[in-house]
């Protein structure tokens, strides 16, 4: 059985819809992972010991195990405790939490590297500790980690393919659907790969622009 790319046009709109899903999931999970990363970083650094230590253990566990395994845990685990979320929501939560843990590591380092004088000055000016964190320290820390975080976001795009395994009809699963109908795996997976590649190039372009802007404003 050779290759036959003429089967593609008929299923092109399914693939495009999958593409839209992939972009949507990536953006939603990216936003979740960004703000989640900030919250996780603050907990890991400033929460009382009794919360901080178990939290760090869980974070460590999330960094030491494969994303696919975590997706199974979240998807089936939520069902077990009676929360029956649609697969797409479970997928976004899984991806978002996984990358939030990685982002949190970056943000923690950045928070610690913000000059101590910033916190002291903010406290002297009458801001409370949490205000000083929110309004002075974190904005500076976050700016410093935008380049490495954007690398994580590009990794997130590629890892979003994994949510096809729990039944989210994004790009990969759309390709699988088309393959189910045509039995042409090579053609459709190649097409999906091409779409991922193009989205990836687009994200890299945005990343370069953001980096340029940050480096100017410093």
């Amino acid at each position: 059985m050779g290759l036959d790319f003429t089967v593609i046009p008929k299923y092109f709109d399914i693939i495009l819809l999958g593409c839209a899903y992939t972009i949507g999931i990536t953006v939603a999970a990216a936003i979740l992972s960004f703000f989640g990363g900030i919250v996780f970083a603050v907990i890991a650094l400033y929460a009382p010991w009794i919360i901080r230590q178990p939290f760090r253990m869980v974070a460590w566990m999330f960094m030491g195990t494969p994303l696919l395994l975590q997706l199974f845990l979240i998807y089936f685990g939520l069902v077990q405790v009676g929360i029956d979320l649609p697969a797409v929501v479970a997928g976004i939560i899984g991806l978002g939490l996984h990358f939030a843990v990685y982002n949190s590591e970056l943000i923690q380092t950045a928070i610690l590297s913000v000059d101590k004088g910033q916190m002291e000055a903010a406290r002297t000016l009458g801001l409370s500790r949490s205000e000083a964190l929110r309004k002075v320290v974190i904005p500076q820390a976050v700016r410093a980690v935008i380049p490495p975080i954007s690398n994580n976001m590009i990794a997130l795009l590629k890892d979003s393919a994994l949510v096809s395994v729990i039944g989210v009809s994004e790009l990969t699963l759309s390709a699988q659907r088309a393959i189910g109908a045509t039995y042409r795996p090579f053609e459709f997976y190649l097409l999906a790969a091409a779409f991922y590649y193009v989205i990836n190039l687009g994200m890299e372009w945005v990343q370069r622009r953001i980096e340029r802007r940050i480096s100017i404003s410093r």
């Binding site: 195990t65 696919l68 845990l73």
Partner: protein, 215 residues
């Protein structure tokens, strides 16, 4: 928390962990080979090789590893490549890891001071001799730690072959989650085994890194 169940199924997880280890080792070896070839291509004098090297890195890092596995395993037979799931897993993940390692190896090589190569050439060493006897031994020391990061990612990426039904750790966890409806317990079992593998590998890399440093 159902400890009894965990005790009952853990031998199956141990077996699966062994498959994950074998898979990781073979993938790492193939990845290193691909990464070395890729780095040489990217550093080559010939524009064609440089282009091929850059294209390899860009394409394999720019698309999901899962899709690459699917193309190889499901699409392979259409172009005459017939592999079983394990072979497809090793080859697919190895080529993917090689793209990341290409950049690691290239980065280490180009970070060696230019003067080293010039001095070696001045002393009468050929292009290759300068590479093998002067630059690579120095670059190798710089590679250990970043290659360790690549290795860590690679071990976690072996979970992807669960999607083509290789019975490794994640696949086993998935199967038992399906049959026992105890996702947390199964996650914990598989997770602990993954972390042991990753921890031991990490220590090994740190040991090697100390071993090769000249201080």
């Amino acid at each position: 928390m159902d400890f009894e169940l965990m005790l009952k199924v853990y031998p199956f997880f141990l077996e699966a962990a062994w498959i994950t280890i074998v898979l990781s080792v073979l993938t790492a070896i193939l990845g290193l080979i691909c990464g070395t070839l890729g780095a040489f291509a990217r550093l080559s004098r010939f524009a064609v090789l440089r282009f091929l090297g850059a294209a390899y890195v860009s394409v394999f890092r720019g698309t999901p590893a899962l899709i690459q596995l699917f193309i190889l395993y499901f699409g392979g037979p259409q172009i005459g490549i017939q592999l079983d799931a394990f072979e497809a897993g090793v080859i697919g993940l190895g080529i993917n890891a090689g793209a990341y390692m290409t950049e690691t190896i290239r980065g280490a090589v180009i970070s060696i001071d230019k003067g080293q190569r010039e001095a070696a050439r001045t002393l009468g060493l050929s292009q290759w001799q300068a590479m093998y006897k002067v630059i690579l031994p120095q670059a190798a020391r710089l590679m250990v730690r970043p290659l360790g990061v690549n290795l860590n990612m690679l071990i976690k990426a072996t979970a992807l072959v669960a999607a083509i039904s290789v019975v490794e750790l994640t696949y086993t966890a998935q199967r038992y989650i399906g049959s026992t409806y105890k996702p947390f317990e199964m996650f914990l079992l598989a997770g602990i085994l993954y972390m042991i593998i990753i921890y031991v590998t990490g220590r090994g890399v740190a040991w090697l890194d100390r071993k090769v440093q000249i201080t």
